[in-house]
């Protein structure tokens, strides 16, 4: 029982981390109809910039207050992500208005290559660390109920709370503001959005900046947990089933999807894995998403795919 609860809890926490990455996908998709394959690369470059700036800035400015250093590094990284957003809009998206989904998808793959290369040239390709003071040691609760207590990772818990806050804010933004509405309009039809005066350029910069910030937060959390290295970019792959399970266009979907996938994957690995040799969690997550989609092809909370003649 205790073990089950621990697994469950571990799954929920992992799920929240996935949600955070998934959120980046959903944001850009919802607001511009682009399936942003570069989200993983953005997480990596954001984490790299945070790691390196928090190392460099105290050196440049001669401060040794860790908190101040981290705050400055965060600010610098945020600016960096904004610059990327501007560049992406200026050199890529602007020229691909009104193109099909596959074309845009491909372009984001190009962007992801570019960012991978650029990030490592600027910031290096070794392992770096981010230390924002996340609690690392395990905590044990309910000592009285279970023998040895229940293992809870405080780090995961902190991360989950941050993720939840972020998601709630963004969900609100989309549903209840005029800008949110405009973003959704852009996703539906670039040309029509232009025709009524929605400035695509500005919208895209905003969206990519926000997605960049989400990537930064995700990068900091993942990075402080695992260290910052090229491999972080592949974390995005773990978030894909979350995105489609929750629905490509749904911010709350990213959360619920994340929890389902996180729990499903951990339970499957722990309880089914041993019978088939283990290592099943990745494909299990995808299969889980697939099975859900068979019942709801647009994901749990996604918008229905409209086709009428």
């Amino acid at each position: 029982m205790a073990f089950f609860l621990e697994t469950l809890f571990g799954g929920l926490m992992t799920g929240m981390l996935y949600s955070l990455v998934a959120l980046g996908f959903v944001l850009i998709f919802k607001a511009s109809g682009v399936f942003n394959f570069a989200q993983g690369a953005m997480v990596l470059i954001a984490a790299l910039s945070m790691a390196r700036f928090s190392e460099w800035i105290p050196g440049w400015l001669g401060i040794d207050n860790m908190i101040l250093g981290n705050i400055l590094a965060f600010a610098a990284s945020a600016v960096f992500m904004w610059l990327i957003a501007v560049a992406v809009e200026r050199w890529v998206l602007r020229h691909l208005v009104n193109q099909e989904g596959t074309t845009l998808l491909m372009a984001t793959i190009g962007i992801s290559y570019f960012l991978d290369g650029m990030g490592q040239i600027i910031f290096g390709s070794s392992v770096y660390s981010i230390n924002v003071g996340m609690p690392k040691d395990p905590a044990f609760i309910l000592d009285g109920v279970f023998e040895g207590g229940l293992l809870i990772s405080l780090e995961d818990l902190t991360a989950a709370v941050i993720a939840a806050l972020l998601v709630a804010t963004l969900a609100f933004f989309f549903q209840y503001t005029g800008v949110g509405r405009a973003l959704r309009a852009v996703a539906d039809d670039h040309q029509a959005a232009q025709s009524i005066g929605i400035p695509l350029n500005r919208i895209w910069v905003v969206v990519w900046t926000v997605a960049g910030l989400v990537a930064l937060v995700a990068g900091i959390i993942w990075g402080s947990k695992f260290g910052v290295q090229f491999t972080l970019a592949t974390a995005a792959l773990r978030a894909l089933p979350v995105v489609i399970l929750g629905g490509l266009t749904s911010v709350p979907g990213a959360i619920i999807g994340g929890l389902i996938i996180g729990v499903g994957e951990k339970l499957s690995e722990v309880y089914l894995g041993p019978f088939v040799g283990g290592g099943i969690e990745i494909w299990f997550a995808y299969m889980l998403a697939l099975v859900f989609l068979l019942f709801r092809p647009q994901g749990l909370f996604g918008e229905k795919i409209i086709d009428r003649v």
Partner: protein
């Protein structure tokens, strides 16, 4: 001036239905084939044959397969690496367990197994569409990766999970030197490209495209989505499976599931999109872009006598590569094949601007 179809009238539909209705094109293609079969093996260095042309051809073949699914039938798949793997491992298992099976038959059987698996993973496409489907194809990718890593039967209980093929020969001829390998692969590619072209310009090809462009209208015409989608998955995975077997047998010789991982799938998808969705030649252009460009990029600094550290070079290569993808998409979102045909159109009216 030279590229005009003036005066080339067609009096029968048969003539109009040739693959290359314009004479200059036919001459060009025959010439190209002659060069590929005769001149290239004689003139190209072993390195060029083995490390560039052979993978280029095999990836073109796989891309043709994927193009049938993605470009013609509109079902985006990021799981094609899995079907390559199935092709490779199935062929290998026939080779190991029934050593008498001729090489070509082994490879084709690899294709057959890939077809079976492809159809199974194609079934969700009847309900799931678009990007959702694309992501679910990753289920195939990860499942197959896992299966070949974890199920020892498939690797004939090899302790490391790595498998390899003995020296190859087909029809009593050795397939060993770079030139032999190249020609062996070339034969497959030419034959399959032709078959694929026949399919896509025939009735079944129209069904696929109809499903891609407007599935409701297609079913109103009497096209069965089930049949169209599953045949697309089948044909596509067959070709991809054969390409996978060739990749394993001829290019690598020894491999592990990693050779067909997600990166391979993505690479194929790039090839297809950059080359041009729904275009057989596009698959070749795309593969050339993907295979040649990185090699060029690594070698360019040498030409200029620059010596960059390999890691910087590789990062710059990534950046240039990414930038070029974006550049070509901006110039022509429909891929290199479209660029090519626009070029031809311009050539046709040259020297007039319109």
């Amino acid at each position: 001036m030279f590229y005009r179809e003036n005066g080339q009238f067609k009096s029968t539909y048969r003539a109009d239905q040739q693959i290359f209705p314009i004479r200059q094109d036919r001459v060009f293609i025959l010439g190209l084939l002659a060069v590929a079969v005769v001149a290239v093996p004689l003139l190209a260095t072993p390195y060029f044959l083995q490390a560039i042309l052979t993978p280029f051809l095999i990836l073109s073949l796989a891309a043709i397969g994927l193009n049938i699914l993605v470009g013609y039938c509109g079902q985006i798949s990021i799981g094609s690496g899995a079907f390559m793997a199935v092709g490779a491992y199935a062929a290998w298992n026939f080779g190991v367990r029934m050593p008498a099976t001729p090489l070509v038959v082994q490879i084709l059987l690899g294709g057959v197994f890939a077809t079976l698996v492809g159809v199974v993973f194609g079934v969700p496409s009847l309900r799931i569409r678009g990007l959702y489907l694309a992501v679910t194809t990753l289920a195939a990718q990860f499942f197959v990766d896992w299966a070949f890593l974890r199920i020892p039967y498939f690797t004939n209980y090899s302790s490391s999970g790595n498998v390899s093929v003995p020296a190859l020969s087909a029809f009593g001829l050795p397939v060993q030197t770079p030139a032999q390998r190249y020609l062996f692969v070339l034969a497959f590619v030419v034959v399959f490209a032709l078959l694929a072209k026949n399919l896509v310009r025939g009735a079944i090809g129209r069904q696929w495209m109809a499903i891609r462009d407007m599935d409701v209208a297609a079913s109103v015409i009497g096209i069965r989505p089930v049949y169209a989608k599953l045949t697309a998955f089948a044909v596509s995975s067959f070709i991809i499976g054969v390409a996978g077997a060739l990749w394993a047998y001829v290019h690598l010789g020894s491999w592990e599931p990693l050779a067909f991982d997600l990166n391979r799938s993505l690479q194929l998808l790039f090839i297809v999109i950059i080359g041009g969705l729904g275009s057989i030649v596009g698959s070749f252009f795309g593969a050339a872009f993907m295979v040649l460009l990185p090699v060029l990029l690594t070698n360019v600094p040498h030409f200029f006598g620059l010596s960059l550290a390999v890691d910087t070079a590789s990062h710059i290569e990534h950046m240039v590569f990414g930038a070029l993808i974006v550049f070509f998409l901006i110039v022509e979102p429909h891929g290199l094949a479209r660029l090519w045909s626009i070029g031809k159109e311009k050539l046709r009216i040259w020297p007039f601007p319109h």
